[in-house]
Each structure stands twice: as C-alpha cells, then as structure tokens.
C-alpha cells in the first residue's frame, strides 16, 4: 500500500469472543444497525432455517456433499477482525500487501472485517466510493438498503446465501459514478487467520452508466488443521454502457471450505467480465450467475482451477440471456493431479425474448493422475429460435506429441509436463490480461507444479 500513504490504516481490532452460528449471533451483529438492516438479517435467518441443507440428490449439488464438507455446529463465528493478540501481521498477508502493484485503491480484510482502505484522492473527488460495508451502512445507507442482498444475491438463492445474508460481518463497497473511469484496478486482499472459524463477507460493486472499473481480490490464509469456512457473496452491477472486470484469486490454505455466491447484472451495452481462479482451499464451491439484462450487454466468464492432493472444486455457473442482442462467452479450464476432483456445471439459459443471442460455453479438463476425477455438465436451455449457441466439454490427458517435442528439445519429463500444464491454463489468463494478475497466477501455478 506504499503508493497511497495518505490513507490512515484502521487499527486491527482486538479479538472478540467467538460465538456459535445461531439466531443470537444475528441479534448481536445487528446491534446498533439501522432497522432495515436488522430486519433484513432476521429475514435472511428465517430463510436459512426454512431452507433444507443442499443434498447431492439435487442437480446443483450432485458432486459436493456439503453436509460432509462442513458442520456449522463445529464452527465459531468471528464477528470482528481479529488477528493474533499482539496484533502483528502474518507473513503471508504482509507479503501480499507489500507487493507494489499500481492501483486505484486498496482494501484489506482480516477475518471478514475491513482493516485498511485507501483510495486515490483524485478519484475520491470524482465521487468514487471505496469503503467497508460496515461504515457504508451509516454513510451510504440508501445505496445499501436498495442493493445489498436484495435483487442481486438475495437469501432466497439458497441455504448458504441465506446464511451469509444473515451473518455477514463486513465487506467492500465499490461505487463508481457516471462517466468516471478507473485506469488502475482496485486491489483487495482478504486474509483468514483462525482455524475452525466461519467468516462471512460481502462485496458490492456498482458501476454507473458509462463508467469503468476493474477489481482484483485475493483470498489468502495459511494451512489449517481444522475445517474453516470462508463464505462470500459478491454482487456486481454494470449500468448502461459501464465496463467491469472482476477478478478473484483464491489461494486459501488447506482445510478451508471456500464458498462464493456471485451474480453479475449487465445492463444495456454493458461489458461485464469475471475471472475466478481457484488454486487453494480443500473444498471450493462457486455459484456464478451472469445476467444479461439489456440489449448489447456482453459477459465473459473465465475460470481456472488446478487441484492436487484431495482438493475438490465445484464450479456452478449460469449465463442468463434475458434481453435480446446479448452475448456471453464462458471458458473454464482445469488441471487435476493426485486424488483431486472437479465438477463443472454450466448452464446457458436463453429466455423467450432474448432473440439474436450469442452464447458460448467451454469447459476443458486436463487429467494428470490415475486417481483424479473430472465431472462436466455443460447445459443449454434455449427458448428463443434466432440464436447462436454452442457448448463444448473435453476431458483429456497431456498431449503426447507436445510432450515428445519438448523432450526432444532437451527438457526433462517434469519440466515438459509443467510447461504443458502452464500453457493449458495460461490460455484463460490471456483472455483477461489485467496488470499483475497474469504474473501472480502464473507464479502460483508454478509453485503448485513444483510439488507435482
């Protein structure tokens, strides 16, 4: 954050007594909150209670038995960003924060609470808002009342979405006014420090007409020896003609269950692209829904995953073409080693009025071991006739010809295999070449490949 020295760093709060995930937690979090928010939390809790736990009998959870992944009764809710008692920052977080990358602003979250925010003052002057949700509740109450956990990711979306809407402790609000363009990304670092904790955070991004922004978040932690639950709800709105690039790089430690519910709304002529990189955690579940709501809207959905040991990835995406003349293009690529498993379930829905839709969906899997597993369900539901839609899925092994070529050039088997995997996955990064992201992800993949 060295390039923005003017922003004061919030002190890291002392750890509160962690508590269990129940109704009293909802009440406690609601203390001092405006009534619309406490009501919204209570409503979300009642939806949570009325919604059965997802079962593998349901299509959307066919490959992940969440009841075996996480037992909510074993988790402790962290409601205030707590670090080690002496307040010193873990090496992993410090390393991420000190990476000197050009940015429009920064936010740092520890255990779901924002501990630092800075924003380029020139942007602040133009009305850009980058702040913690906790302070936004008071400073930008109207905006949050309208948009937070309402139309974008409401509790009705599912059991875990409801739990997040009831228990979220903090998160990031990024608001960019009409015609304002952010040349550099907003960079967000999210650190989780407690084994056995449950962390609920939300992100709300609003780009007003003709504005432009990019947002890059990193989820980090050390490895744990106890199941830890990191829950996110991400709400992204691109108004008419706005352009948004949203990137999430997940490198959480082992024994984390990382669950993220994301929805993006693209209005007329908006361009809204997402990239989700899943490298860490023991179990990762992503629900991403891209809605194309206005003519001319376009979304790219990019994803990359690389699993080893017993890692489990479950990516559940959907592209909803609601308005005519919209486009979407999805590319999710993954490599799996050891006993890693992945499930990709993608849905293209072309609604009745969405004539002249162009929608594509590709999922490619590279299998590197005999024990790994890949499941791929690329689905289409088309209710308009004037459309161009296609999808493809492949599951395959290392290309033997490419391998042979590299070996003949003097590379070792290991080197050659790494190069092929890197090339296979790097393909996705090339589609969204944001400053720093390609290098960061490439380095992370390389680190992982060293253990192969």
């Amino acid at each position: 954050m060295s390039n923005s020295p003017q922003a004061a760093e919030a002190p890291i709060a002392e750890e509160e007594t962690p508590s269990s995930l129940d109704e009293s937690a909802v009440e406690r979090i609601s203390e001092g909150a405006p009534s619309w928010l406490s009501e919204r939390r209570r409503h979300a809790w009642s939806v949570f209670e009325d919604t059965p736990f997802p079962s593998t009998r349901s299509e959307e959870w066919r490959y992940t038995d969440v009841s075996r992944v996480v037992n909510l009764a074993d988790l402790r809710l962290v409601t205030d960003g707590g670090l080690a008692e002496n307040g010193s920052r873990p090496a992993g977080l410090v390393a991420a924060m000190e990476e000197d990358l050009a940015a429009s602003g920064h936010a740092v979250l520890v255990d779901g609470s924002v501990v630092h925010v800075d924003l380029d003052p020139a942007l602040e002057e133009q009305g850009v808002i980058l702040t913690s949700l906790r302070s936004a509740v008071h400073e930008h109450g109207d905006l949050l009342e309208e948009l937070l956990a309402t139309e974008v990711v409401p509790p009705e979306d599912g059991k875990l979405q409801a739990l997040n809407a009831a228990l979220w402790t903090d998160g990031v609000l990024l608001y960019v006014p009409r015609n304002v363009k952010l040349d550099l990304p907003v960079r967000v670092t999210r650190w989780v420090s407690h084994a056995g904790s449950a962390v609920f955070a939300r992100t709300l991004i609003v780009a007003e007409p003709e504005s432009q922004l990019s947002y890059v978040e990193e989820l980090l932690s050390d490895d744990f020896d106890q199941r830890t639950f990191v829950s996110s709800a991400v709400e992204v709105i691109a108004r008419d003609g706005a352009q948004i690039q949203f990137v999430s790089i997940q490198q959480l430690g082992r024994d984390v269950f990382c669950q993220s519910a994301q929805r993006t709304l693209a209005h007329r002529d908006a361009k809204l692209d997402t990239l989700n990189v899943s490298l860490g955690a023991s179990v990762t579940r992503l629900d991403l829904n891209s809605r194309l709501l206005g003519p001319g809207a376009h979304s790219e959905l990019l994803g990359l995953y690389f699993g080893d040991e017993d890692q489990h990835f479950d990516h559940n995406t959907s592209q909803d073409h609601v308005a005519p003349d919209t486009g979407s293009d999805l590319l999710y690529k993954g490599a799996l080693d050891d006993r890693a498993q992945s499930a990709f379930r993608g849905m293209i829905r072309v609604h009745r009025d969405a004539q002249r839709t162009d929608a594509y969906q590709t999922n490619r899997n590279l299998l590197l071991s005999d024990e790994c597993r890949a499941n791929s369900l690329p689905n289409l539901e088309i209710q308009a006739d004037d459309v161009r839609c296609s999808h493809g899925a492949t599951v395959g092994q290392l290309d033997s010809e490419a391998l042979f070529y590299l070996l003949s050039r003097g590379l070792s088997q290991d080197q050659a295999e790494r190069l092929i995997v890197l090339g296979f996955l790097g393909d996705v990064l090339a589609r969204l070449p944001l400053g720093g992201v390609v290098e960061k992800v490439t380095r992370a993949i390389e680190r992982k490949l060293e253990h192969v």
Partner: protein, 471 residues
C-alpha cells in the same frame, strides 16, 4: 410473410396412423394397478412361480420409488395410471400364419404395411397388438440355423434356462421406477437369440400397436447375441389419437457376447397422447459393437436414453438419435455410454428439431471408470429450432476417472439460416422446398443410417409437412 406463419405446419404432426379399430379383446384386467392385477397377468400367461414372485417384488419396488422430478412433466401421470388398462389380451393365442390373425387386427397391420415388408425385406416379423404378440414368424433359413425369434412369453416357456440366465440381469427391477413397473406387469415383446457366428443379412422387425383407449403397453424384450453373431432389429410403434392419455413403458435388454455386432433401430411414432417411458440397455463384451438408432417422432412425452455398458476390452457403442418435437410434444431423449473396460470407444450423435411449442431435450451420460484405460468417447448434439416458441435443452453428464481417457462433447443450437434459405431460393427453389431441404440436410447424417424404406418415409413426411406452409 412472417417466418412463424410460413413454417406453421412444418413437421411431422399430421398424424396418419391415428385410425381406430373396433375394440377387439378377449380379456382385460380392470383399470388401474394392484397386486390382483399382477397375479391375473401372471396367471393368464401360465408362468412359473419364480416369475410371479419376480413380478410381485417389482410391484413393491415400483410403489416405493418416487416419481422422477427431472425430465418431462409427469405431474398428471399418476392420475393417468389409475385409469389405464394394464393388460388387454386381444386374442386367445399367438399365430404363426398371417391368415389366422383376426381380421380387424390383420387389417390394422396391413394398413401399416407390415406383411408386405416382411415378404420383401425382412428375416422375421413380430407384431404386438395391445398387450400380446399376435403374430411372430421367422424365415426357415434362420430357424434352421438355430436363431430363435419369438414372443417373450414363448421364450420363457420354450427356452427357460437361456431366458432365466439373462432376464432382468441387464436392467434389474430396481433400476428405475418405470423399469420396476414394467417388471411387475410386462406383457409382450420379443425374445431373440442369434447363435454363435450366425449373421443375419436382413433385419428382423417388431411392430407395436396400441388400439384401445386408455391402454398401457409394457413390452419386454430380451436379445442375446452369441459370439460373432450379427443382426439388426427394428421396432416401430403407432397408436390412435384419443383425448385421454395412454402409456407405454418398455424394457429392452441386450447382451452382446464377444465379437458380436447388433443394431437396434426404433422408429417411435406414437400418437401424441402417449407417455413413452422406456429403458433400453446393452451390455457389450470384448470387441463387440452395439448400435442404437433411435428415432423419436411421436408421443406426448418420451423419456428414453438407450445405453451401452462397455464391459469387454475393445467394445464399441454407438448411439444415434433423431428427435422431432412438434406442438405440445416433449422429446427428452439421448443416450448413455459407460466405459468399464480398457480400449473401449463410443460415440453419441443427436439431432433434434423443435417446432411450434415443441421441446426437445438431449440428456446423456458419458462415464469412464478408472480401469477403462484409453477409453475414447465423442458426443455431438445439434438442435434446430423452427419457431420462436420452440424450445431445446442439452443436459450432458460427463464423469471421468483417471487420466487415460479422451472425451469430447459438443453441442450447437441454430435456426434455419436466412442466408441458406436465400441461397437456395435464388437457385429457383420455393421457400417450402428450401426449408424441407435444409431440414433433410440437418438430419441426413443419421437418416442415411436408416433402412431405405424408413429414410424415404422420413423424407416424405418432412416434404408433406412443408406443403401448404407458404400461403
């Protein structure tokens, strides 16, 4: 002229097999299903005790399984099943000579062109009317070589050991709700055995006709190909159009031993008041090849996914599927390939056309188990949409264990392109000719696999539907 109006009437929905015969049955059970009905069916067939027990056990399984919530709309099915006749016996015994078949039934099949086809093109014919096979024949040439082509009931009576060795081993009663139902009340269907090395050069055909209103037909077919055997079996189905719904639920089990080759062709043209829920599965052994050619044109709702279990090294499975969904129809069809053994290969090709408010869904599974080294599978689904009210869905499941498999799936959805139409019309074709040509071209890769007379029939139907579509 607006596209929608122009293409009104495109399709195969002018149903020409909807005629009704007088009700001609010698016995039927009361409407609905209970243990008494199952016992009656078994008694009428003079079955051994084990079969009655099998049926009763299956009935319990059927009752315990919930109605599927995926696929098509089955919300009215339960009420329908309370009212249909589960067993209708059309005549006292099955005939081997066409002359002995009762006139009303004979007339029906003659109108459908069955006897004519038999003489010209087929190795053998079976015809089912309501619940029973009314006619079965096999050319002397093949029976003398040990081929058995009989009604399923006669298979049980005359070849009890062979029957029991394979019956319900490929599709056990508990496989799914409708397989359980079929297991409880099955009646009619074919029993086919091709001995070692015997290769039939013309197809066998079975024809299924439902005549009575509110009828449930539960054909059960068991097919065994011994080592190196080859055959092609064709089934066709039609029924009259009634305002009430009818129900057809078949179970077809196929065993392919080493080096054998078998093709099973279905031309399903039920009237569109018919629920058609069928389980078809083949177990394919070493170096054997199974081909399902599945044409679904009729019915109100079809849920059918022919499957190949590739259990022997080098086994190959091929599934080719054409679905045509017109107003009010839902074709939920596809295929399953399960790779268990090494060096197995498979392909699924699906072509669907949705017209009016019709909906076609491709649903398929490609599963590769860890031991199936070098398994290769390719799935291709293409959908053509004719109207803005038409719907198409694609639901493939790809489940792969281990790195030594190569799997691909592709699907495309398109409508009849304006440029294609323009090009053809600029060459002097009328719009209706051009559209017929495009539709024919779309299904051609599969249609060309059909026996000639069926391919001709399919093309004729498409052309017929284009007539008068341009006002």
């Amino acid at each position: 002229m607006p596209e929608n109006q122009l293409v009104e009437g495109l399709g195969l929905d002018e149903y020409q097999y909807g005629f009704v015969d007088e009700e001609a049955h010698v016995y039927r059970t009361k409407p609905g299903l209970d243990e008494g009905v199952v016992r009656e069916i078994s008694e009428h067939k003079e079955e051994p005790e084990w079969m009655l027990e099998f049926r009763l056990k299956a009935l319990k399984i059927y009752e315990s399984k919930p109605m599927p919530t995926w696929g098509g709309d089955l919300s009215h099915l339960e009420a329908t099943l309370d009212e249909i006749y589960f067993y209708v016996k059309p005549q006292e015994q099955m005939e081997r000579s066409w002359d002995d078949v009762p006139d009303t039934i004979k007339n029906t099949f003659e109108r459908l062109g069955i006897p004519e086809a038999e003489q010209k093109l087929l190795s053998g014919v079976g015809a089912q009317y309501e619940s029973e096979m009314v006619y079965h024949s096999l050319k002397e040439e093949w029976s003398s070589k040990g081929v058995i082509f009989d009604s399923i009931e006669d298979g049980l009576k005359n070849h009890p050991d062979l029957f029991r060795e394979h019956f319900a081993t490929i599709i056990p009663a508990a496989d799914n709700k409708f397989a359980a139902l079929n297991s409880a009340v099955w009646s009619g269907g074919s029993f086919l055995y091709i001995p070692k090395g015997v290769q039939l050069d013309t197809p066998l055909q079975a024809y299924f006709r439902v005549n009575q209103e509110r009828m449930g037909q539960f054909e059960r077919t068991l097919i065994i190909l011994d080592e190196g055997a080859q055959a092609h079996y064709i089934e066709g189905c039609t029924a009259p159009v009634y305002s009430t719904d009818s129900f057809h639920s078949g179970v077809i089990e196929v065993v392919l031993k080493k080096d054998s080759r078998f093709r099973y062709t279905t031309i399903q043209n039920w009237s569109n008041n018919m629920y058609n829920l069928v389980t078809q599965r083949a177990v394919v052994n070493e170096n054997a090849t199974m081909e399902w050619l599945d044409g679904n044109l009729g019915s109100k709702l079809t849920m059918k996914y022919p499957s190949c279990y590739l259990v022997g090294e080098g086994a190959h499975g091929d599934i080719m599927s054409i679905a045509y969904a017109s107003d009010g129809q839902h074709q939920d069809t596809g295929g399953k390939v399960v790779h268990v053994a090494p060096n197995t290969t498979s392909s699924i090709t699906s072509k669907s056309i949705s017209k009016g408010t019709g909906r076609s869904s491709y649903r398929g599974l490609c599963k590769v188990y860890e031991g199936a080294h070098n398994a290769r599978s390719n799935v291709e689904c293409d959908a053509l949409l004719i109207n803005s009210t038409s719907r198409t869905d694609t639901y493939p499941y790809i489940e792969i264990e281990g790195k030594r498999a190569t799997i691909g799936h592709e699907a495309t959805v398109s409508k009849i392109g304006d440029t294609q139409l323009f090009y053809l019309m600029s060459r002097g074709l009328t719009k209706e000719e051009a559209m017929a040509l495009i539709v024919r071209g779309f299904i051609e890769p599969i249609a060309k696999q059909l026996p000639l007379e069926y391919a001709v029939e399919l093309n004729r139907l498409i052309e017929l539907e284009m007539e008068g579509s341009v006002g």
